[in-house]
Symmetry: C2
Subunit: 914 residues, 2 copies
Amino acid sequence: MYKVVGRIDRPLGRAVTKYVYDFSEGNKDQVDLLGGKGANLAEMTRLGLPVPPGFTVTTEACRKYLAAGDEPSGLATEVDEAISRLEDTVGRRIGGVSDPLLVSVRSGAKVSMPGMMDTVLNVGLNDESVEGLVTVSGNPRFAWDSYRRLIQMFARTVMDIDGDLFSDALNAAVESAGVGADADLDAAALQEVVAAFKQIYREQTGREFPQDPRRQIDLAIKAVFSSWNTPRARLYRRRERIPDDLGTAVNICTMVFGNLDDRSGTGVGFTRDPATGTPGVYGDYLSKAQGEDVVAGIRNTLSLDEFREIDERSHDELVDIMRRLEIHYRDLCDIEFTVERGKLWMLQTRVGKRTASAAFRIAAQLVDEGLISIDEALDRVTGAQLGQLMFPQFDQTAPRATFTAGMAASPGAAVGRAVFDSATAVEWAARGEKVVLVRKETNPDDLAGMVASEGILTARGGKTSHAAVVARGMGKTCVCGAGDMNVDPDARTAACGGVTVTEGEVLSVNGSTGEVFVGELPVVDSPVFRYLEEGLDVALGDAGSDSRELIAAVDRILIRADSVRRLGVRANADTSADARRARALGAEGIGLCRTEHMFLGDRRILVERVILAESQAEQDEALEALLPPQRGDFVEILRAMDGLPATIRLLDPPLHEFLPDHADLRVKVAIARERGEVDEADVSLLAAVERLHESNPMLGLRGVRLGLVVPGLFRLQVRAIAEASVERIKAGGDPLAEIMVPLVGSVTELRLIRDDAEATIASIAEKAGVDLDIPIGTMIELPRAALTADRIAGAADFFSFGTNDLTQTTWGFSRDDVEAAFFSTYLDKGVFKVSPFETIDLAGVGELVRIASVKGRARRPELHLGVCGEHGGDPDSIHFFDRVGLDYVSCSPFRVPVARLEAGRSALSALATG
Amino acid sequence: MYKVVGRIDRPLGRAVTKYVYDFSEGNKDQVDLLGGKGANLAEMTRLGLPVPPGFTVTTEACRKYLAAGDEPSGLATEVDEAISRLEDTVGRRIGGVSDPLLVSVRSGAKVSMPGMMDTVLNVGLNDESVEGLVTVSGNPRFAWDSYRRLIQMFARTVMDIDGDLFSDALNAAVESAGVGADADLDAAALQEVVAAFKQIYREQTGREFPQDPRRQIDLAIKAVFSSWNTPRARLYRRRERIPDDLGTAVNICTMVFGNLDDRSGTGVGFTRDPATGTPGVYGDYLSKAQGEDVVAGIRNTLSLDEFREIDERSHDELVDIMRRLEIHYRDLCDIEFTVERGKLWMLQTRVGKRTASAAFRIAAQLVDEGLISIDEALDRVTGAQLGQLMFPQFDQTAPRATFTAGMAASPGAAVGRAVFDSATAVEWAARGEKVVLVRKETNPDDLAGMVASEGILTARGGKTSHAAVVARGMGKTCVCGAGDMNVDPDARTAACGGVTVTEGEVLSVNGSTGEVFVGELPVVDSPVFRYLEEGLDVALGDAGSDSRELIAAVDRILIRADSVRRLGVRANADTSADARRARALGAEGIGLCRTEHMFLGDRRILVERVILAESQAEQDEALEALLPPQRGDFVEILRAMDGLPATIRLLDPPLHEFLPDHADLRVKVAIARERGEVDEADVSLLAAVERLHESNPMLGLRGVRLGLVVPGLFRLQVRAIAEASVERIKAGGDPLAEIMVPLVGSVTELRLIRDDAEATIASIAEKAGVDLDIPIGTMIELPRAALTADRIAGAADFFSFGTNDLTQTTWGFSRDDVEAAFFSTYLDKGVFKVSPFETIDLAGVGELVRIASVKGRARRPELHLGVCGEHGGDPDSIHFFDRVGLDYVSCSPFRVPVARLEAGRSALSALATG
């Protein structure tokens, strides 16, 4: 009486889980189970391409192994059976004394991951089968060298024995043979090397090098499994937020040899040029070599055209296969191949990495070739790539002297004199020099120097290092982790590849590619930026042909993005110049116009009068004097955004920000006292500064609080907005001002300001005889505002999420204070995957955005929702804002095209999942 | 075919809503509908007490009137009918020319509310019925005076005519008659006054004074309705968070006259002494007078014993009624009564207000008398009252000279010299004087002076004024709004009732009662505090009889609270002395032991060495030196709390708090430079201070962030805690330390600290050969921690809500920066009802507490939850924490008894509603 409820009721047995897949069984969609490499080998096998036969042990086997500390039951049998099938297929036996079958054992996780065990070649060789290899290859030297390589790799990667022991022994053999390199050792010498290697193995492990090929395979599989949990792999996963429970697959593949004879060789290729996107296959070939040799760059490689001259048949077959792969994968593929005695074998393929410009060009080409749709093309490019293309670039045609290369940590093209400490950077910058700060690595003490520099170059640390995090936060160009560069701060030099740069020498740093050059490279405007700002015709006018194709591709994809996106894109713009630029770049309005700057410059003195006023009347008078310039600003902004909404935020920062620094002034007054030259104006200014001094200005009397305590302030601003609107209407314009109240935590605050503002607007409208319809809304930038959004929506026409402040209050840290102090530690320790100021923190800040959106719309379904924090221009965050149903994002004008593109991509993925 | 589903299906008609209730129809539970006064008049009528007949117009009629701007249909007819019934009952006709029926019209909301229209007496008099009153009273003077009073009150309260016009006319009549006061005017003169009043009425309204009594009633009812929405009433409601849509009832009651003849009079009474709680009725009587005269204190009143001598029958009836009322209401009642020609009439009753000590004594007495249960007694007292009783008090037996009285804004007994500005307060306090700051009102500029003072006294502002809010925040004694006091800051004097206090004179300020005395009153310890700290026997030893009864009452009620409460009560204690005191006061453990102080004093230099260390080794060494004193502190605390849990929070503030002030140091160094006397130690200290300087230290590198950046710091503290536990265990103790990690925003932060701490503890336990079971938990004090509590619970044995910081981050304001700057404005404008630092903000901060509790328990059902912010000692907040299911609250030792009491009361209300 069994009731069948899925798998759980099946009788137990080895058939329940299948741990081993022959290459002929899988396909490219099984990356979860077979890993990236295994799935693509299976796919090529399925396509009938010449893949050396083999099989894949699944990630599930790995997971069970790691959980139980032992092989899952049944795995050994399955591997036995797979080996038998393999032996039957190729007609050779593993460990066989004549024509032995050798295999490679390779890890292959879902995503490629540094820190894991990579490869063991020539598995299956032992003291007997090496003789078989001698026979069948007719090349004793080759056979013994292969055996020597197996022991060396196996010992190092499977048994974790110090690799230097083996290279030392090899060097000793070279020396004792009196030859130049190990490639010159003959078979007899190599046979002795094998003996020496086996001795080392014995000494280090207390065991013999395993002669049983099955045991070699077994140990190698387990080593791959275990390498999933090396500290380096774990650290990498924590940083990249890759789940710890994926596990890795293991690929066991028949060995083919590119180093067997003159009719053998090995190479890599791309189905298009991944650097430029130029169509046509592209690759390198090395005769009589193994894969490692191509990567190591020991000898000069041949182009594919040169390869054809040596081996036209293999070449033509390869090119044909590459075309088939591209059509099959519908994208740029990269490949690895080997020719063994004139027979072509495909060893790997995958969708290839490419530069930003190649991404756009290839996507457009594939559409033209009918391989993908325009929507797929849109999905193939990213906002980050478009952003890179918008930066000024080094002139590609200028001569250049490469100095070093590291990680492209923060994009841009920076040119400046090399300085080696923060103080010098500050000092030189103060006298007008452009500088590049060069450090082993940076720490919080370097902050001032980083601010003063055009660009930052470090020898150590990755994309989450202090230098990288802080530079991105500042928008500074940065290349980090240039590991070949040796920085000597005492000598004030940096050396790399024989070139030494001394303090004051000019460096050119390409933060988009990671390249660093000696001397000043000319910087040219980005053709893509020119297109975005001035339009297709202007930009195409004087561009070269590659640029023309690129511009056309960007245009085509961006038009598509605009046509599919649901999310509006506005810009943060504080001046009419910003507003015009934003509009040119495609902004559909202003999402945030900060009014702080309107209180600076010449007008600062007026603000001082407001603050220092000794009576209400004096204060009112000072406020009144601010009205005309404020109104003038708004008229210009509304003119620039005519017909599009312009959300103007009332004054946000605390008043004391408009006064001199407290400590500076105290020192000034104290010294004046000491000298008997006290200026009474300074004394009363100091009194005002001290009265307004706050321990935590970010959490002080600012925003709506200031508006309620000094009611004349907001009323002045509302008047200026309303009067500017009247002026624009009377001039025939279509001003669409919206008033935004900052730092609201309670609906009562908003209600009080709103009542006052509505009265002001109504009286101005009546006086002018025009209709004024000015929506009034609020920033949602405090957790309490988000949590009580249902109440607040009762007094708000719109919400705009101020995700910068919301991140600060939700996490309880101030960006200024903590980013440099501990964000790199936090990224390193895996607390963050990415700074929460770059990409919205979904679990905390994102949750508040979600809560506020749901509660706000529940109270007022027509409530308009936007975001105006910096996250509004961040790709991942844009997808979140789209999912959560906001109406628009607002970002800096330069990020507008990025936001348009990502909003389009997000709409596609909503279609796909919705 | 009607389906009957409640009222909605009834046929429409005037029977649907009943707007008018005769006093004989209602009862005391109908306060929502009939208002407080109306419900209690009905109750007394129901009890058969001699209440003048009348009726109540419901709050529902008011709500409809205010919504529609007009009387609801049917109301007029109901009032007509009620008047007819009233006329039938009393056998007189309103407006009748012989023996006319007169009525009073009074407002009566659910809660008594200043700013609303109060009373119109003698309604029903007109040019004809006044003659009837002459006849029936046999007293023409009385009749014309009554008519004069009606016109005057009606004009002022119903028609909003300036009252001065009438008093001026009355004074003119007195003058022209050549008599001393209006009481000396004869009937003829009063008849002329009536004519003059009618003339004023005509001039001011353009209409005749209404002769139709029905119209008088109608206008008076509408005036009461409308007075619900006066600005003053609205402001009051906004401050007190009374809903705007309650509306007020209107009571129309047959007039009885205490001023008719010598056999008439009026009085007020209490069923027990509301000041001390002494049993026995208590009251004042005034012969030949109306209610207003008693309140105005024109003549000396008689005690109830003296009243018996004049009118024994009425007196005995009154005392009998008071006893009946007390038994019926089962509580202290206050009453108003009138005797008209020897006949007693009850005009009002309600449960009476009382002092804190009376509240406890009366509650215990009523239990003894079998009127209420011990649980009801517990419900009748409050934590706020107990808190008041714990403060030192002025010696009740000492002679005293009252100066003025205002609102009891912040409890305590403060003695000091009067100063009239902040600078003087600071200056005098700096030289060791105790001062009391006397101001018209305070503003943020007075902050330093308030800090320097023992107490604060202001002439203006209520319990939400700046002075009151800030004083409560500081725990300073404060009396505010002493409206009779005239403060002259230029002359440096304060005058009240003929007494002038000059600068330097000593004042004694009672913040618990609002009284202020000239001269130094001796302060005595509170007997209740003595009982709480030293136990019943000690406290009873030398107490007077009133104190003995009070102590016994507190003891009895507190024992009951302890036996019914679910919520645990712990204390915030940083030293062993605090811990001992807390334990004596009933704390069941330490909820928060801050370790900051352990880094101060002599040890500050060690911290400086940690901060200024130039190498890791130097830093480790400096940390090591901190270990022994830290361990010593913990040993003492664990000894004091032996057997009870002690939650120790790892270091929370940023490191720079242990260094000198930045601006001070800059000035010092600048002046030294100026003088050419630079101290290099100061220069390097300044460099360290600047390196650590933060713009917003509250949002900076502190708590767990500091723990992760300087890992040795927390490790040192964990070691000290673990080693102290070992020492206590080896000494035979039962230490129950718990480690609390501050400022966690992400589970990864906690996980990293926890892993390290567990390893440290395990190694110490192993070395010592003892078992150490030290739970590790976290503060929930950031919105992100609350929002991701499910994740955080995965690494926490307990949560402790740090509601101070949580309030700061949820609202985005820092208590230090904003409380003085704008909280009084916010309380005034109704943004807050109470400071969110006093009582937890339910909608924002409370919501996060709720979310975190639910999410945390969902992940880990056994998760222990507590709160250690100051809200842990606040009555309203304690009820919330109980409802939301926390395990304990932790508060300052002095608040422990308050928390025990309120936790007990909360448990009762949970029983009642659960």
